[in-house]
Protein backbone atom coordinates (compact mmCIF):
# COMPACT_ATOMS: atom_id res chain seq x y z
CA UNK A 1 0.00 0.00 0.00
CA UNK A 2 2.87 2.40 0.72
CA UNK A 3 3.96 2.14 -2.90
CA UNK A 4 0.48 3.15 -4.05
CA UNK A 5 0.17 6.05 -1.61
CA UNK A 6 3.63 7.16 -2.65
CA UNK A 7 2.72 7.09 -6.32
CA UNK A 8 -0.42 9.17 -5.75
CA UNK A 9 1.52 11.70 -3.68
CA UNK A 10 4.61 11.93 -5.85
CA UNK A 11 3.29 11.48 -9.39
CA UNK A 12 -0.02 13.31 -9.07
CA UNK A 13 0.63 15.64 -6.14
CA UNK A 14 -2.52 14.48 -4.35
CA UNK A 15 -2.34 14.26 -0.55
CA UNK A 16 -3.15 10.84 0.86
CA UNK A 17 -3.82 9.23 4.17
CA UNK A 18 -2.83 5.58 4.45
CA UNK A 19 -4.95 3.37 6.68
CA UNK A 20 -3.20 0.42 8.29
CA UNK A 21 -4.17 -2.05 10.98
CA UNK A 22 -2.64 -1.53 14.40
CA UNK A 23 -0.91 -4.91 13.87
CA UNK A 24 1.43 -3.63 11.15
CA UNK A 25 1.27 0.17 11.14
CA UNK A 26 4.57 0.45 13.01
CA UNK A 27 6.29 -1.04 9.96
CA UNK A 28 4.90 1.70 7.73
CA UNK A 29 6.04 4.58 9.90
CA UNK A 30 9.32 2.87 10.85
CA UNK A 31 11.45 0.56 8.71
CA UNK A 32 9.37 1.02 5.57
CA UNK A 33 9.99 4.77 5.61
CA UNK A 34 13.65 4.48 6.51
CA UNK A 35 14.66 1.74 4.11
CA UNK A 36 11.94 1.41 1.48
CA UNK A 37 9.79 4.37 0.46
CA UNK A 38 11.79 7.26 1.90
CA UNK A 39 8.47 9.03 2.11
CA UNK A 40 7.00 9.89 5.53
CA UNK A 41 3.48 8.87 4.54
CA UNK A 42 0.77 9.92 6.91
CA UNK A 43 -0.62 6.75 8.45
CA UNK A 44 -3.73 6.38 10.54
CA UNK A 45 -3.93 3.19 12.61
CA UNK A 46 -7.12 1.14 12.63
CA UNK A 47 -7.72 -1.29 15.53
CA UNK A 48 -7.04 -4.89 14.56
CA UNK A 49 -8.82 -7.11 13.65
CA UNK A 50 -11.11 -5.25 11.32
CA UNK A 51 -11.86 -8.03 8.84
CA UNK A 52 -15.17 -9.75 9.40
CA UNK A 53 -16.27 -7.30 12.10
CA UNK A 54 -19.91 -6.15 12.18
CA UNK A 55 -20.64 -2.60 11.11
CA UNK A 56 -21.30 -1.52 14.68
CA UNK A 57 -17.73 -2.44 15.61
CA UNK A 58 -16.32 -0.71 12.52
CA UNK A 59 -18.31 2.39 13.43
CA UNK A 60 -16.88 2.29 16.93
CA UNK A 61 -13.41 2.12 15.39
CA UNK A 62 -13.85 5.28 13.36
CA UNK A 63 -15.52 7.01 16.30
CA UNK A 64 -12.54 5.91 18.39
CA UNK A 65 -8.86 6.78 18.32
CA UNK A 66 -6.19 6.61 15.65
CA UNK A 67 -3.79 4.06 17.10
CA UNK A 68 -0.79 6.06 15.83
CA UNK A 69 -1.45 9.56 17.10
CA UNK A 70 -4.03 8.79 19.78
CA UNK A 71 -6.28 11.50 18.31
CA UNK A 72 -9.90 10.83 17.31
CA UNK A 73 -9.57 8.83 14.11
CA UNK A 74 -11.51 11.09 11.77
CA UNK A 75 -9.77 14.17 13.14
CA UNK A 76 -6.47 12.43 12.42
CA UNK A 77 -7.61 11.73 8.85
CA UNK A 78 -8.64 15.35 8.31
CA UNK A 79 -5.30 16.46 9.77
CA UNK A 80 -3.50 14.02 7.49
CA UNK A 81 -4.98 15.72 4.45
CA UNK A 82 -4.81 19.32 5.64
CA UNK A 83 -2.10 19.87 8.23
CA UNK A 84 0.86 21.69 6.62
CA UNK A 85 3.94 19.63 5.94
CA UNK A 86 6.67 19.57 8.51
CA UNK A 87 10.29 20.14 7.61
CA UNK A 88 10.87 16.39 7.70
CA UNK A 89 7.96 15.78 5.34
CA UNK A 90 9.45 18.25 2.84
CA UNK A 91 12.88 16.62 2.85
CA UNK A 92 14.22 15.23 -0.39
CA UNK A 93 17.40 13.75 -1.77
CA UNK A 94 19.98 11.36 -0.52
CA UNK A 95 20.04 10.60 3.17
CA UNK A 96 23.33 10.50 5.05
CA UNK A 97 25.21 7.24 4.62
CA UNK A 98 24.23 4.46 7.00
CA UNK A 99 26.83 3.71 9.62
CA UNK A 100 28.67 0.78 8.05
CA UNK A 101 28.87 -2.44 9.98
CA UNK A 102 32.55 -3.18 10.72
CA UNK A 103 33.95 -6.32 9.12
CA UNK A 104 35.27 -7.56 12.46
CA UNK A 105 33.73 -7.49 15.90
CA UNK A 106 35.81 -6.31 18.86
CA UNK A 107 37.82 -9.19 20.35
CA UNK A 108 35.88 -10.92 23.09
CA UNK A 109 35.43 -14.27 24.74
CA UNK A 110 33.39 -16.96 23.02
CA UNK A 111 30.81 -16.80 25.81
CA UNK A 112 30.36 -13.07 25.40
CA UNK A 113 30.15 -13.38 21.65
CA UNK A 114 27.47 -16.07 21.97
CA UNK A 115 25.47 -13.66 24.07
CA UNK A 116 26.10 -10.76 21.72
CA UNK A 117 24.96 -12.83 18.73
CA UNK A 118 21.72 -13.66 20.53
CA UNK A 119 21.14 -10.08 21.55
CA UNK A 120 21.64 -8.86 17.99
CA UNK A 121 19.09 -11.47 16.80
CA UNK A 122 21.75 -13.23 14.75
CA UNK A 123 20.81 -16.73 15.95
CA UNK A 124 17.90 -19.15 16.11
CA UNK A 125 18.52 -19.08 19.88
CA UNK A 126 20.62 -22.21 19.75
CA UNK A 127 24.35 -21.67 20.15
CA UNK A 128 26.21 -20.86 16.96
CA UNK A 129 29.76 -21.56 15.88
CA UNK A 130 31.64 -18.31 16.38
CA UNK A 131 32.82 -17.18 12.92
CA UNK A 132 36.49 -16.53 13.52
CA UNK A 133 38.63 -15.33 10.67
CA UNK A 134 40.22 -18.77 10.40
CA UNK A 135 36.90 -20.58 10.25
CA UNK A 136 35.46 -18.21 7.66
CA UNK A 137 38.62 -18.46 5.56
CA UNK A 138 38.30 -22.24 5.62
CA UNK A 139 34.63 -21.98 4.68
CA UNK A 140 35.44 -19.76 1.71
CA UNK A 141 37.45 -22.62 0.22
CA UNK A 142 34.06 -24.17 -0.58
CA UNK A 143 33.48 -21.72 -3.45
CA UNK A 144 35.50 -20.24 -6.26
CA UNK A 145 33.80 -16.88 -5.80
CA UNK A 146 35.73 -14.01 -4.26
CA UNK A 147 34.91 -13.07 -0.68
CA UNK A 148 34.06 -9.48 -1.56
CA UNK A 149 31.76 -10.35 -4.44
CA UNK A 150 28.30 -8.88 -3.92
CA UNK A 151 25.75 -11.69 -3.99
CA UNK A 152 22.71 -9.43 -4.03
CA UNK A 153 21.69 -5.93 -3.07
CA UNK A 154 17.87 -5.98 -2.91
CA UNK A 155 17.91 -8.45 -0.05
CA UNK A 156 15.65 -6.89 2.56
CA UNK A 157 11.92 -7.27 3.05
CA UNK A 158 10.14 -5.67 0.07
CA UNK A 159 13.48 -5.61 -1.72
CA UNK A 160 15.10 -2.95 0.43
CA UNK A 161 18.81 -2.57 -0.17
CA UNK A 162 20.88 -4.71 2.15
CA UNK A 163 23.86 -5.61 -0.04
CA UNK A 164 25.84 -8.63 1.11
CA UNK A 165 28.97 -10.42 0.02
CA UNK A 166 30.09 -14.00 -0.37
CA UNK A 167 32.07 -13.53 2.85
CA UNK A 168 28.89 -12.63 4.76
CA UNK A 169 27.27 -15.85 3.57
CA UNK A 170 30.38 -17.83 4.51
CA UNK A 171 30.26 -16.22 7.95
CA UNK A 172 26.66 -17.32 8.40
CA UNK A 173 27.49 -20.78 7.06
CA UNK A 174 30.14 -21.11 9.78
CA UNK A 175 27.64 -19.96 12.41
CA UNK A 176 25.14 -22.60 11.26
CA UNK A 177 27.77 -25.34 11.52
CA UNK A 178 28.30 -25.93 7.80
CA UNK A 179 31.16 -27.69 6.09
CA UNK A 180 32.86 -25.82 3.23
CA UNK A 181 31.34 -28.27 0.74
CA UNK A 182 27.87 -26.96 1.68
CA UNK A 183 28.72 -23.37 0.82
CA UNK A 184 27.55 -23.42 -2.84
CA UNK A 185 24.13 -24.62 -1.66
CA UNK A 186 23.99 -21.93 1.02
CA UNK A 187 25.06 -19.26 -1.48
CA UNK A 188 22.27 -20.38 -3.83
CA UNK A 189 19.89 -20.16 -0.87
CA UNK A 190 21.13 -16.67 0.02
CA UNK A 191 20.68 -15.56 -3.57
CA UNK A 192 16.93 -16.03 -3.13
CA UNK A 193 16.38 -13.48 -0.36
CA UNK A 194 14.06 -11.85 0.47
CA UNK A 195 12.12 -14.90 1.54
CA UNK A 196 8.35 -14.82 1.76
CA UNK A 197 6.92 -13.37 4.96
CA UNK A 198 3.36 -12.83 6.06
CA UNK A 199 1.29 -12.12 9.12
CA UNK A 200 -0.14 -15.58 8.38
CA UNK A 201 1.68 -18.81 9.23
CA UNK A 202 3.58 -19.07 5.99
CA UNK A 203 6.68 -21.26 5.83
CA UNK A 204 9.26 -22.40 3.34
CA UNK A 205 10.66 -25.70 2.14
CA UNK A 206 14.06 -26.24 0.54
CA UNK A 207 14.42 -29.11 -1.94
CA UNK A 208 17.78 -30.00 -3.45
CA UNK A 209 18.18 -31.98 -6.66
CA UNK A 210 21.11 -33.18 -8.72
CA UNK A 211 24.60 -34.51 -8.06
CA UNK A 212 25.36 -32.17 -5.14
CA UNK A 213 23.01 -34.24 -2.97
CA UNK A 214 25.43 -37.13 -2.97
CA UNK A 215 28.56 -34.99 -2.93
CA UNK A 216 27.60 -33.49 0.43
CA UNK A 217 25.76 -36.54 1.77
CA UNK A 218 22.32 -34.98 1.96
CA UNK A 219 19.64 -37.32 3.16
CA UNK A 220 16.90 -38.15 0.69
CA UNK A 221 16.07 -41.53 2.21
CA UNK A 222 15.32 -42.87 5.67
CA UNK A 223 14.28 -40.07 8.02
CA UNK A 224 15.04 -37.35 5.47
CA UNK A 225 12.48 -34.92 6.85
CA UNK A 226 13.69 -35.31 10.43
CA UNK A 227 16.75 -34.06 12.30
CA UNK A 228 18.87 -36.96 11.12
CA UNK A 229 21.43 -35.56 8.75
CA UNK A 230 24.15 -32.95 8.99
CA UNK A 231 23.74 -31.32 5.60
CA UNK A 232 19.94 -31.22 5.69
CA UNK A 233 19.92 -29.74 9.18
CA UNK A 234 22.70 -27.23 8.71
CA UNK A 235 21.58 -25.93 5.32
CA UNK A 236 18.05 -25.54 6.68
CA UNK A 237 19.41 -23.69 9.68
CA UNK A 238 21.45 -21.44 7.42
CA UNK A 239 18.24 -20.29 5.79
CA UNK A 240 16.87 -19.20 9.16
CA UNK A 241 20.03 -17.23 9.88
CA UNK A 242 20.09 -15.66 6.40
CA UNK A 243 16.46 -14.66 6.88
CA UNK A 244 17.25 -12.92 10.13
CA UNK A 245 20.69 -11.47 9.47
CA UNK A 246 20.79 -10.68 5.77
CA UNK A 247 17.12 -10.05 5.09
CA UNK A 248 16.77 -8.34 8.45
CA UNK A 249 13.67 -10.21 9.58
CA UNK A 250 12.86 -9.04 13.08
CA UNK A 251 9.60 -10.20 14.61
CA UNK A 252 7.51 -7.19 15.56
CA UNK A 253 9.71 -4.76 13.63
CA UNK A 254 9.98 -5.91 10.03
CA UNK A 255 7.80 -9.03 10.31
CA UNK A 256 4.54 -9.76 12.03
CA UNK A 257 3.75 -13.48 11.77
CA UNK A 258 1.05 -13.90 14.38
CA UNK A 259 1.66 -17.59 15.10
CA UNK A 260 4.59 -18.10 12.74
CA UNK A 261 5.19 -21.74 11.85
CA UNK A 262 7.29 -24.49 13.45
CA UNK A 263 8.40 -25.56 9.97
CA UNK A 264 10.52 -22.42 9.97
CA UNK A 265 12.91 -23.96 12.51
CA UNK A 266 14.66 -25.88 9.75
CA UNK A 267 12.75 -24.87 6.64
CA UNK A 268 12.04 -28.46 5.61
CA UNK A 269 15.40 -28.88 3.95
CA UNK A 270 15.94 -32.21 2.17
CA UNK A 271 16.99 -33.79 -1.11
CA UNK A 272 14.76 -35.67 -3.51
CA UNK A 273 15.36 -39.41 -3.63
CA UNK A 274 16.05 -39.40 -7.35
CA UNK A 275 17.50 -42.89 -7.31
CA UNK A 276 14.22 -44.31 -6.01
CA UNK A 277 11.97 -42.66 -8.58
CA UNK A 278 9.85 -45.14 -10.53
CA UNK A 279 10.72 -45.45 -14.19
CA UNK A 280 9.16 -42.55 -16.07
CA UNK A 281 9.00 -40.25 -13.06
CA UNK A 282 11.41 -37.36 -13.50
CA UNK A 283 13.29 -35.61 -10.72
CA UNK A 284 11.65 -32.34 -9.77
CA UNK A 285 14.39 -30.15 -11.25
CA UNK A 286 14.19 -31.99 -14.58
CA UNK A 287 10.44 -31.40 -14.65
CA UNK A 288 11.24 -27.72 -14.25
CA UNK A 289 13.55 -27.75 -17.28
CA UNK A 290 16.97 -28.40 -15.77
CA UNK A 291 19.33 -31.16 -16.83
CA UNK A 292 19.62 -34.24 -14.61
CA UNK A 293 23.28 -33.36 -14.13
CA UNK A 294 22.47 -29.87 -12.85
CA UNK A 295 22.46 -29.29 -9.12
CA UNK A 296 19.46 -27.16 -8.31
CA UNK A 297 17.84 -25.76 -5.20
CA UNK A 298 14.15 -24.90 -5.11
CA UNK A 299 12.40 -22.93 -2.39
CA UNK A 300 8.74 -23.77 -1.97
CA UNK A 301 6.35 -21.57 -0.01
CA UNK A 302 3.15 -22.63 1.71
CA UNK A 303 1.14 -23.05 4.86
CA UNK A 304 -0.14 -26.60 5.23
CA UNK A 305 1.62 -29.88 5.79
CA UNK A 306 -0.86 -32.74 6.13
CA UNK A 307 0.40 -36.14 7.17
CA UNK A 308 -1.09 -39.29 5.66
CA UNK A 309 -0.96 -40.42 9.29
CA UNK A 310 -0.71 -44.09 8.43
CA UNK A 311 0.39 -46.17 5.52
CA UNK A 312 -1.49 -46.87 2.31
CA UNK A 313 -4.36 -49.34 2.78
CA UNK A 314 -4.84 -51.94 0.09
CA UNK A 315 -8.57 -51.30 -0.22
CA UNK A 316 -8.20 -47.55 -0.78
CA UNK A 317 -5.76 -46.48 -3.48
CA UNK A 318 -3.27 -43.82 -2.38
CA UNK A 319 -4.49 -41.22 -4.87
CA UNK A 320 -7.94 -41.42 -3.31
CA UNK A 321 -6.75 -40.44 0.16
CA UNK A 322 -4.49 -37.78 -1.40
CA UNK A 323 -7.58 -36.42 -3.16
CA UNK A 324 -9.57 -36.44 0.09
CA UNK A 325 -6.87 -34.67 2.08
CA UNK A 326 -6.14 -32.16 -0.67
CA UNK A 327 -9.75 -31.01 -0.55
CA UNK A 328 -8.80 -29.12 2.61
CA UNK A 329 -6.11 -27.15 0.76
CA UNK A 330 -6.77 -23.81 -0.89
CA UNK A 331 -6.47 -25.03 -4.47
CA UNK A 332 -3.82 -22.46 -5.37
CA UNK A 333 -1.13 -25.12 -5.56
CA UNK A 334 0.06 -28.32 -3.93
CA UNK A 335 3.12 -30.46 -3.49
CA UNK A 336 2.94 -34.09 -2.45
CA UNK A 337 5.95 -35.49 -0.63
CA UNK A 338 5.81 -39.25 -0.91
CA UNK A 339 7.83 -42.23 0.09
CA UNK A 340 9.29 -44.17 -2.85
CA UNK A 341 7.02 -47.10 -1.99
CA UNK A 342 3.98 -44.86 -2.55
CA UNK A 343 5.40 -43.67 -5.85
CA UNK A 344 5.88 -47.32 -6.88
CA UNK A 345 2.30 -48.17 -6.00
CA UNK A 346 1.02 -45.20 -7.95
CA UNK A 347 3.18 -46.11 -10.92
CA UNK A 348 3.01 -49.89 -10.98
CA UNK A 349 -0.47 -50.57 -9.63
CA UNK A 350 -2.49 -47.42 -10.29
CA UNK A 351 -1.04 -46.62 -13.71
CA UNK A 352 0.36 -43.17 -13.03
CA UNK A 353 3.38 -43.58 -15.23
CA UNK A 354 4.50 -39.99 -14.73
CA UNK A 355 4.16 -37.39 -12.00
CA UNK A 356 2.22 -35.29 -14.48
CA UNK A 357 -0.47 -37.97 -14.89
CA UNK A 358 -1.00 -38.06 -11.16
CA UNK A 359 -1.29 -34.27 -11.11
CA UNK A 360 -3.82 -34.37 -13.93
CA UNK A 361 -5.95 -36.91 -12.07
CA UNK A 362 -5.88 -34.94 -8.85
CA UNK A 363 -6.76 -31.74 -10.68
CA UNK A 364 -9.85 -33.45 -12.05
CA UNK A 365 -10.87 -35.20 -8.87
CA UNK A 366 -10.18 -32.96 -5.88
CA UNK A 367 -13.42 -31.21 -4.96
CA UNK A 368 -14.67 -28.82 -2.35
CA UNK A 369 -17.73 -26.69 -1.84
CA UNK A 370 -17.72 -23.10 -2.99
CA UNK A 371 -18.27 -21.50 0.40
CA UNK A 372 -15.30 -23.40 1.84
CA UNK A 373 -13.18 -22.35 -1.13
CA UNK A 374 -14.04 -18.68 -0.71
CA UNK A 375 -13.76 -19.00 3.05
CA UNK A 376 -9.99 -19.26 2.74
CA UNK A 377 -8.64 -15.72 3.13
CA UNK A 378 -5.67 -16.28 0.86
CA UNK A 379 -7.95 -17.46 -1.93
CA UNK A 380 -10.47 -14.77 -1.17
CA UNK A 381 -7.91 -11.97 -1.16
CA UNK A 382 -5.85 -13.13 -4.13
CA UNK A 383 -8.50 -14.58 -6.44
CA UNK A 384 -11.76 -13.09 -5.19
CA UNK A 385 -11.12 -9.62 -6.61
CA UNK A 386 -10.08 -11.18 -9.92
CA UNK A 387 -13.38 -13.07 -10.00
CA UNK A 388 -15.26 -9.85 -9.34
CA UNK A 389 -13.46 -8.35 -12.32
CA UNK A 390 -14.60 -11.18 -14.57
CA UNK A 391 -11.67 -13.60 -14.63
CA UNK A 392 -12.84 -17.20 -15.09
CA UNK A 393 -13.40 -19.62 -13.47
CA UNK A 394 -13.44 -17.38 -10.38
CA UNK A 395 -16.17 -15.11 -11.76
CA UNK A 396 -18.50 -18.10 -12.22
CA UNK A 397 -17.51 -19.66 -8.90
CA UNK A 398 -18.39 -16.44 -7.09
CA UNK A 399 -21.95 -16.76 -8.37
CA UNK A 400 -22.40 -20.34 -7.17
CA UNK A 401 -24.48 -21.27 -4.13
CA UNK A 402 -22.35 -22.05 -1.12
CA UNK A 403 -22.86 -25.80 -1.28
CA UNK A 404 -22.02 -26.09 -4.99
CA UNK A 405 -19.09 -28.41 -5.68
CA UNK A 406 -16.06 -27.06 -7.53
CA UNK A 407 -12.70 -28.48 -8.57
CA UNK A 408 -10.31 -25.97 -7.02
CA UNK A 409 -7.07 -27.20 -8.61
CA UNK A 410 -7.80 -25.76 -12.02
CA UNK A 411 -4.23 -26.12 -13.25
CA UNK A 412 -2.56 -29.54 -12.99
CA UNK A 413 0.80 -27.83 -13.45
CA UNK A 414 0.27 -26.40 -9.99
CA UNK A 415 0.33 -29.87 -8.44
CA UNK A 416 3.80 -31.26 -7.82
CA UNK A 417 5.26 -34.47 -6.45
CA UNK A 418 8.62 -34.95 -4.76
CA UNK A 419 9.79 -38.43 -3.82
CA UNK A 420 11.65 -38.73 -0.53
CA UNK A 421 11.96 -41.33 2.18
CA UNK A 422 13.37 -44.71 3.10
CA UNK A 423 10.69 -47.25 2.12
CA UNK A 424 9.92 -48.37 5.65
CA UNK A 425 6.31 -47.24 5.36
CA UNK A 426 4.06 -46.20 2.49
CA UNK A 427 3.45 -42.72 3.84
CA UNK A 428 3.13 -39.25 2.33
CA UNK A 429 2.41 -35.63 3.06
CA UNK A 430 -0.05 -33.40 1.21
CA UNK A 431 1.11 -29.80 1.31
CA UNK A 432 0.06 -26.55 -0.30
CA UNK A 433 3.68 -25.58 -0.86
CA UNK A 434 4.31 -23.91 -4.19
CA UNK A 435 7.74 -23.78 -5.82
CA UNK A 436 9.70 -20.73 -6.81
CA UNK A 437 12.20 -20.81 -9.63
CA UNK A 438 14.97 -23.35 -9.33
CA UNK A 439 18.35 -21.86 -8.51
CA UNK A 440 21.62 -23.18 -9.86
CA UNK A 441 23.91 -24.45 -7.15
CA UNK A 442 26.62 -25.07 -9.73
CA UNK A 443 26.84 -21.33 -10.34
CA UNK A 444 28.11 -20.95 -6.79
CA UNK A 445 30.72 -23.67 -6.78
Amino acid sequence: MSHESGEIEQKYGIPTVSLAGSNVVSFGIGPNLTYNTGMPLRYVGVPFPFSGQPRSVLRSYIEGKDTVSGKPMMAAIVDGLTKPLTAEERMSGNPPESTPEPRLLPPDTEDHLQLLFKERCWTDYNPVIIPTEERVAAMLKGTGHKPDEIVKSAAGTFGTRRPFTVEKVATIAVMAGAKPAYLPVILALANEVPYQDSTTSIAEMVVVNGPIRKEIDMNSGLGALGPNNDANSVIGRSMTLIHKIIQGYDEGVTGFASLSNPLRYDNLCFAENEEALPEGWQPFHVQMGHKPTDSVLTIFTGWNFINSTGWVEQHYAPQNLMRDYMSSLSGMGATLLMDPSVAELLNNVQGFTTKEKLAEWLSQNVEKIAQSYWGNAIVSSMLGPLGEQGLEPYASWKKLPGDAVIKPFTNPKGIHAVVVGGKTASVWFATDFMPGRGVSIDAWR
Binding site: M1, E4, T99, E101, E133, L241
Partner: protein, 139 residues
Protein backbone atom coordinates in the same frame (compact mmCIF):
# COMPACT_ATOMS: atom_id res chain seq x y z
CA UNK B 1 38.08 5.55 35.96
CA UNK B 2 35.38 5.54 33.32
CA UNK B 3 33.11 2.50 33.91
CA UNK B 4 33.24 1.36 30.29
CA UNK B 5 37.04 1.50 30.21
CA UNK B 6 37.27 -0.34 33.49
CA UNK B 7 34.98 -3.10 32.28
CA UNK B 8 36.87 -3.36 29.02
CA UNK B 9 40.09 -3.88 30.94
CA UNK B 10 38.39 -6.61 32.91
CA UNK B 11 37.52 -8.37 29.69
CA UNK B 12 33.83 -7.49 29.68
CA UNK B 13 32.40 -6.29 26.39
CA UNK B 14 30.98 -2.75 26.73
CA UNK B 15 28.43 -3.76 24.09
CA UNK B 16 27.11 -6.45 26.39
CA UNK B 17 27.09 -4.18 29.40
CA UNK B 18 25.02 -1.64 27.52
CA UNK B 19 22.43 -4.17 26.43
CA UNK B 20 22.42 -6.81 29.15
CA UNK B 21 23.04 -5.56 32.65
CA UNK B 22 22.17 -8.91 34.24
CA UNK B 23 24.70 -10.70 32.06
CA UNK B 24 27.28 -8.02 32.75
CA UNK B 25 27.05 -8.74 36.45
CA UNK B 26 27.71 -12.43 35.81
CA UNK B 27 30.48 -11.64 33.41
CA UNK B 28 32.15 -9.31 35.90
CA UNK B 29 32.28 -12.07 38.49
CA UNK B 30 33.89 -14.40 35.96
CA UNK B 31 36.30 -11.83 34.54
CA UNK B 32 40.04 -12.41 34.86
CA UNK B 33 41.51 -11.29 38.15
CA UNK B 34 43.69 -8.19 38.21
CA UNK B 35 47.09 -8.93 36.77
CA UNK B 36 45.92 -11.72 34.46
CA UNK B 37 46.57 -11.33 30.76
CA UNK B 38 43.39 -9.63 29.58
CA UNK B 39 43.85 -10.79 26.00
CA UNK B 40 43.92 -14.50 26.80
CA UNK B 41 40.85 -16.36 25.65
CA UNK B 42 39.70 -13.57 23.39
CA UNK B 43 38.72 -14.29 19.83
CA UNK B 44 38.10 -12.07 16.86
CA UNK B 45 34.97 -12.89 14.96
CA UNK B 46 33.64 -11.67 11.67
CA UNK B 47 30.56 -9.51 11.90
CA UNK B 48 27.68 -11.23 10.08
CA UNK B 49 25.53 -8.09 9.97
CA UNK B 50 24.96 -6.28 6.71
CA UNK B 51 24.67 -2.53 6.33
CA UNK B 52 21.16 -1.53 5.29
CA UNK B 53 21.02 1.32 2.80
CA UNK B 54 18.74 4.20 3.68
CA UNK B 55 16.05 5.11 1.18
CA UNK B 56 16.27 8.35 -0.72
CA UNK B 57 13.96 10.87 0.89
CA UNK B 58 10.89 11.88 -1.10
CA UNK B 59 8.70 14.81 0.03
CA UNK B 60 4.98 14.51 0.49
CA UNK B 61 2.55 16.41 -1.72
CA UNK B 62 1.40 19.77 -0.35
CA UNK B 63 -1.64 19.49 1.88
CA UNK B 64 -5.04 21.07 1.35
CA UNK B 65 -5.89 24.26 3.22
CA UNK B 66 -9.33 22.85 3.99
CA UNK B 67 -11.53 19.91 3.08
CA UNK B 68 -14.59 22.09 2.67
CA UNK B 69 -15.96 21.65 -0.85
CA UNK B 70 -13.30 19.17 -1.78
CA UNK B 71 -13.55 15.73 -3.43
CA UNK B 72 -11.99 12.91 -1.45
CA UNK B 73 -11.56 9.42 -2.86
CA UNK B 74 -11.74 6.49 -0.50
CA UNK B 75 -9.91 3.59 -2.11
CA UNK B 76 -10.46 0.00 -1.02
CA UNK B 77 -7.18 -1.86 -1.56
CA UNK B 78 -8.99 -5.18 -1.18
CA UNK B 79 -6.58 -6.31 1.47
CA UNK B 80 -7.79 -9.46 3.15
CA UNK B 81 -10.27 -10.27 0.41
CA UNK B 82 -13.66 -9.29 -0.76
CA UNK B 83 -15.58 -6.94 1.43
CA UNK B 84 -13.03 -6.74 4.23
CA UNK B 85 -12.34 -3.01 3.93
CA UNK B 86 -15.40 -1.50 2.36
CA UNK B 87 -17.31 -1.47 5.66
CA UNK B 88 -14.77 0.84 7.27
CA UNK B 89 -14.64 3.07 4.22
CA UNK B 90 -18.45 3.23 4.03
CA UNK B 91 -18.55 4.23 7.69
CA UNK B 92 -16.05 7.00 6.91
CA UNK B 93 -18.23 8.14 4.04
CA UNK B 94 -21.18 8.31 6.44
CA UNK B 95 -19.08 10.31 8.90
CA UNK B 96 -18.17 12.86 6.26
CA UNK B 97 -21.82 13.11 5.17
CA UNK B 98 -22.86 13.82 8.73
CA UNK B 99 -20.00 15.98 9.99
CA UNK B 100 -18.55 17.59 6.85
CA UNK B 101 -21.38 17.53 4.31
CA UNK B 102 -19.60 19.82 1.86
CA UNK B 103 -16.98 17.14 1.30
CA UNK B 104 -17.79 14.96 -1.70
CA UNK B 105 -16.61 11.39 -1.13
CA UNK B 106 -16.23 8.74 -3.82
CA UNK B 107 -15.59 5.10 -2.89
CA UNK B 108 -13.55 3.06 -5.37
CA UNK B 109 -12.25 -0.48 -5.28
CA UNK B 110 -8.78 -1.05 -6.64
CA UNK B 111 -8.52 -3.44 -9.59
CA UNK B 112 -6.47 -6.62 -9.32
CA UNK B 113 -5.89 -7.66 -5.75
CA UNK B 114 -4.10 -6.27 -2.75
CA UNK B 115 -0.64 -7.05 -4.09
CA UNK B 116 -1.17 -5.46 -7.52
CA UNK B 117 -0.96 -1.82 -8.47
CA UNK B 118 -3.78 0.06 -10.22
CA UNK B 119 -2.13 3.00 -11.99
CA UNK B 120 -5.24 3.58 -14.11
CA UNK B 121 -7.21 4.35 -10.97
CA UNK B 122 -4.61 6.82 -9.71
CA UNK B 123 -4.73 8.57 -13.08
CA UNK B 124 -8.53 8.57 -13.03
CA UNK B 125 -8.50 10.20 -9.61
CA UNK B 126 -6.12 12.88 -10.88
CA UNK B 127 -8.06 13.40 -14.13
CA UNK B 128 -11.31 13.81 -12.23
CA UNK B 129 -9.73 16.39 -9.96
CA UNK B 130 -9.66 14.35 -6.82
CA UNK B 131 -8.33 16.58 -4.05
CA UNK B 132 -7.32 13.88 -1.60
CA UNK B 133 -7.19 10.13 -1.13
CA UNK B 134 -7.81 7.86 1.83
CA UNK B 135 -6.34 4.46 1.03
CA UNK B 136 -6.59 1.22 2.95
CA UNK B 137 -6.80 -0.77 5.00
CA UNK B 138 -3.52 -2.69 5.12
CA UNK B 139 -3.34 -5.38 7.76
Amino acid sequence: MDRRKMLALLGVSPVLVADAPSYARTASRNAPKAGAAVTSGLVTALNPAVTPQLAQRVPLAPRLSTLEGKTIYLVDTDWGGMGQNDGILQEMQAWFAQHMPSVKTILKVKKGNFVTDDPALWKEIADKKGDGVILGVAG
